[in-house]
Amino acid sequence: MHIMEGFLPTPWLLLWFAISIPVLAYGIYKLDRLVSKKREILPLLAVAGAFVFVLSSLKLPSVNGSCSHPTGTGMAAIIFGPAISAVLGTIVLLFQALFLAHGGLTTLGANVFSMGIAGPVVAYLIYKAGMKAKLNFFLVVFLAATLGDWTTYVVTSLELALAFSGSTAEFLILFEKFATVFAVTQVPIAIMEGAVTALLFKYVINVKSDILVELKVVEAAVVNKIKGVSL
């Protein structure tokens, strides 16, 4: 769940725009370069974007009796990196703000930062670290997507706590309150997202692993191991 329209007061909503816009600009630049150099990645880009679309439309019930939705940005972060994920996340957030009254235009900067930047950065770093440690590929994807999703909602709580507190002590109390709403609700949903992301990666590797190898997402040796081909 994103921060709703109008629910960030003025200095804060501007701050998040100021942070998100440069990242978004860099993401558009990177995307443009990648697409003009490697047109064959377009279908995969569409799949990653569509995955964000699907997952962020599914409001799931959680253990504490409230609902929230996954983000789906883990896949894009792993394949294309956080900057391009920010572009894909922004498209979805804009769509939801305009047509679904979900999230908002004034809170778009903050929502892009939590869902399009913070979550994907964490997912990307966990993926890279996990692959370097030579852990099981699907386990690493699961961890990256789960923790990336969860980070999005921890950051959403942070953004709200910062905006509505006057002092450090107040900030801590407020952060706890918002985290109870967002971060706790998100735990089972983030786990579901991690599992579904791992499954989708399995199918992408099955049908189109060469692009992932070319984009240096996975090494050919890892793909061969997954497909059970011994070299």
Binding site: P9, V47, G65, S66, L98, L100, G104, F164, P188, M192
Partner: protein, 95 residues
């Protein structure tokens, strides 16, 4: 092709569904949106004085229409995902 991962994901899904069935039948939880609850927290800490700085300029006229739009969003997205998975699969088999 091994189906191990599918089984693990199915198990996670079943635990999730069982948890929901159990919780929804034993408690009177409302299953409202987390964003609405955050709004309540904001109203509580500002003692109801907070005025949203903006309003959504268009809202779905009813819960049904909102469901429709969210449903379309999911359908559109999964259409793209499975089109390309199928496209690549067919291409692989043709060569």
């Amino acid at each position: 092709m091994s189906r191990k991962l599918e089984l693990i994901v199915a198990a996670i899904f079943l635990i999730f569904a069982a948890q929901f069935l159990y919780m929804s039948s034993t408690t009177d939880a409302e299953y409202g949106g987390a964003d609405g609850e955050a709004e309540e927290v904001i109203m509580e800490v500002t003692e109801g004085k907070y005025e949203p700085v903006a309003e959504p300029f268009w809202e779905p006229p009813s819960g049904e229409i909102e469901c429709l739009l969210f449903g379309l969003q999911a359908a559109f997205g999964s259409g793209i995902i499975f089109y390309f998975l199928g496209y690549y699969r067919g291409k692989n088999q043709a060569t």
